[in-house]
């Protein structure tokens, strides 16, 4: 196994994905969950840039990266707004308090 830049980037992406999923699975604080989602989004962003580089279509990768940045920002904004509302309504950030959909 040779340590080309490509492999390094790939390892970084996988690590970021792992961190993101770990955060999503473990944390019960709403803010932490939103942070974990952001980390997942960034992992995808880096993967797209890398894929564009591998394909020789750097421009396409960059364009998709810009799109992901915009979409991710919206996710963060809406998520944080919801978190504020949850805090006001339930007085807690614990997602256990939000399990109204329990069957």
């Amino acid at each position: 196994m040779t340590w080309t830049p490509l492999t390094l980037v790939l390892i970084g992406v996988i690590c970021l994905l792992g961190v993101g999923f770990y955060g999503l699975l473990i944390s019960r604080n709403l803010i932490k969950i939103i942070v974990a989602l952001q980390i997942l989004g960034k992992a995808a962003l880096i993967a797209f840039v890398m894929a564009g580089n591998v394909n020789g279509q750097t421009g396409q990768g960059q364009a998709l990266a810009m799109t992901i940045i915009v979409a991710d920002t919206i996710v963060a904004v809406v998520g944080l707004a919801l978190a504020v509302q949850v805090r006001r309504r339930f007085g807690t950030m614990d997602i256990k308090a939000l399990s109204n959909l329990k069957g």
Partner: protein
């Protein structure tokens, strides 16, 4: 090019009308809603009729829509234009009838919008040449049917009936979608003509799946055995809707589907036999149910399933011409019967046959037209139902086994019996109504109702005269594909063929015997249900099929209840589920790459 314009008008005008009524007029002016609905329905009917002359040498119209779905194709050939004309013309008459029937009803805009949406979708279903579009139109008609059955949405029975119809026709829709995808996978296109041409190049197993899948689709849509239970429950719909959707058009889509694909599926072993048996069981079982039902519209619904059984039987016996001719006759006389029943129900405010009786004197026009429709349903000579039913029976005798033919003959006798019972219980005998809605308040039909009834009654008397051009139309749709299939038949040829056929004489004797028996015991007909004992009890419970339906529903609910524990409502667990799913997908992909 004119034909493409006319196709667009036939499908587009009702949809445009639906948009105008639901967004333009809303519920501001009832008069404007009636007027707009009639305008758009009638112009669409005229456009469909204008397609008839060019249908014999129709060319397939293609609309390129990019690469993903193939081209959208429309094929205004004889079979399709015929069904589109039935849909739009009967649709126009039902809309005209609605002016009186739905007067002063709340949410009239929703009603007319859905009816017009349905008319357009039905015309599209008939005219399209692509299986994918066929599926889409098929589902739009099912959706409209559901929404219109549940039109009185504060009535739990109407809502339940609508959902039942939706679920049962959905089963058929899945069969059609699977068929479309299989055709695409194997032949690389969605065209109906492609499937019919290349059906013999498909592997036999695949063709079997297609043929029986389409049979299930057709049976679910046409309320044939074993799906016959949704149609009677659909009778909660406003009566013009029952006449249009559940008698004259949508339920015919299944028969149309079988007829359309007959050349492709006829060589499949056992398929024609299965089709004949489905038709036979539907015709016989529902005829018995019609004999003991006490709800005027339910009797007509059972009778519709029974007559559709005759059409399916004719397709199975190999005579598409007979099945489509009976479809035409049935659309006319059953729409007439339903609209007549609607006029009766509108006048006295109940659907219970046991509360009617002796209404003939107060409503002579309704009585006359209803009896014309009833005689056509029974198959009395000169009316259109006689010629088409005899053609079906004749085709069955020459194309199918004799025992099925004898069962169908018994069905014809039962038809005469229950039809006589309905006519007698509604219009003759002593008035049985109580003071609130009895015969005392009954009145004859008003203008718009009269118009629709008279047009359909004249149709029931005369449509059989059109056999010459009609058989030409049907023959042109099948000309090149299946030799020995529908051929052109002139009026005199048909008369000679029907009159000399041995089937006709036997059928007429059976019918005459049934009517004689009914006349002899005419005062006992009301209590017929009690007299038949166990048979009656089985028939009112739909021969156990209602029990099967209930069991399936209960089972589904139990499974759903059991699965509730998987819905923890906790976000972490849901994410774990998503990640787990992702890992499974990745593993499958990895295995695929490795291989």
């Amino acid at each position: 090019m004119t034909s493409s314009v006319l196709v667009a008008l036939t499908i587009g005008l009702p949809w445009l009308g639906a948009l105008c009524i639901s967004f333009g007029v809303r519920d501001r002016s009832e008069r404007a809603q009636h007027a707009l609905a009639i305008l758009f329905a009638v112009t669409s009917g005229l456009a469909a009729l204008a397609l008839l002359p060019t249908a014999a040498n129709a060319t397939i119209l293609r609309i390129p829509v990019g690469g993903v779905f193939g081209d959208f194709t429309f094929n205004p050939d004889g079979l399709g234009v015929f069904l589109a004309s039935v849909a739009t013309v009967v649709g126009s008459l039902a809309v005209i009838f609605s002016v009186d029937y739905m007067r002063g009803e709340k949410q009239l805009g929703r009603y007319y919008a859905l009816v017009l949406l349905f008319i357009g979708a039905m015309a599209g279903l008939a005219l399209t040449g692509s299986i994918l579009l066929l599926f889409i139109f098929w589902e739009i008609t099912a959706l409209c049917s559901y929404a219109l059955i549940s039109f009185y949405n504060d009535d739990p029975k109407a809502v339940a009936g609508g959902i039942k119809a939706l679920i049962m026709t959905q089963i058929g829709g899945v069969g059609l979608l699977v068929g479309a995808l299989i055709v695409y996978a194997y032949l690389g296109g969605y065209d109906i003509s492609l499937l019919i041409e290349k059906a013999n190049t498909l592997p036999p197993g695949v063709l079997n799946v297609l043929a029986f899948g389409f049979l299930i689709a057709a049976a679910a849509k046409s309320a044939q055995f074993p799906f016959q239970t949704w149609l009677p429950d659909a009778m909660e719909a406003p009566t013009p809707v029952s006449a249009l959707i559940h008698a004259a058009t949508m339920v015919n889509a299944g028969v149309y589907l079988l007829a359309r694909f007959y050349p492709a599926f006829a060589p499949v072993p056992g398929w024609t036999m299965a089709v004949m048996i489905v038709g036979m069981l539907s015709a016989l079982l529902t005829a018995i149910m019609a004999l003991v039902a006490t709800d005027l519209k339910r009797v007509l619904a059972y009778s519709t399933v029974s007559q559709l059984g005759y059409m399916v039987y004719a397709v199975g016996a190999g005579s598409i011409l007979a099945s489509q001719f009976h479809l035409l006759s049935h659309a006319v006389f059953k729409a007439l019967l339903f609209l007549g029943a609607g006029a009766v129900i509108h006048a006295i405010g109940t659907r219970d046959l046991r509360k009617m009786g002796g209404l003939g004197r107060q409503m002579p026009l309704i009585r006359t037209t209803f009896i014309i429709g009833a005689l056509a349903l029974v198959g009395i000579p000169i009316l259109n139902g006689f010629w088409s039913k005899e053609m079906v029976l004749e085709a069955g005798l020459s194309g199918g086994p004799a025992w099925i033919w004898i069962v169908m003959l018994i069905g014809a006798g039962l038809t005469a019996l229950y039809t006589f019972r309905v006519v007698w219980m509604v219009f003759f005998g002593a008035p049985r109504g109580d003071d609130n809605h009895g015969a005392t308040h009954a009145h004859d039909a008003t203008h718009a109702m009269r118009f629709a009834l008279v047009v359909l009654a004249v149709g029931a008397l005369t449509t059989w005269l059109l056999i010459g051009p009609f058989s030409g139309l049907i023959a042109s749709s099948f000309g090149a594909v299946a030799a020995g299939q529908p051929h052109e038949l002139s009026l005199t040829e048909m008369i000679a063929e029907v009159v000399t056929a041995p089937a006709t004489g036997i059928a007429l004797i059976v019918i005459a015997l049934a009517i004689g028996a009914a006349w002899w015991r005419r005062d006992k007909l009301t209590a017929l249900g009690n007299r038949l004992g166990w048979l009656s009890r089985m028939a009112t419970d739909s021969f156990g099929f209602e029990w099967i339906n209930r069991t399936i529903v209960r089972g589904t609910q139990a499974i759903a209840g059991g699965l509730r524990v998987t819905q923890t409502g906790a976000l972490n667990w849901n994410i774990l589920g998503i990640v787990g799913g992702l890992i499974v997908v990745l593993a499958i992909l990895a295995m695929g790459v490795a291989r």
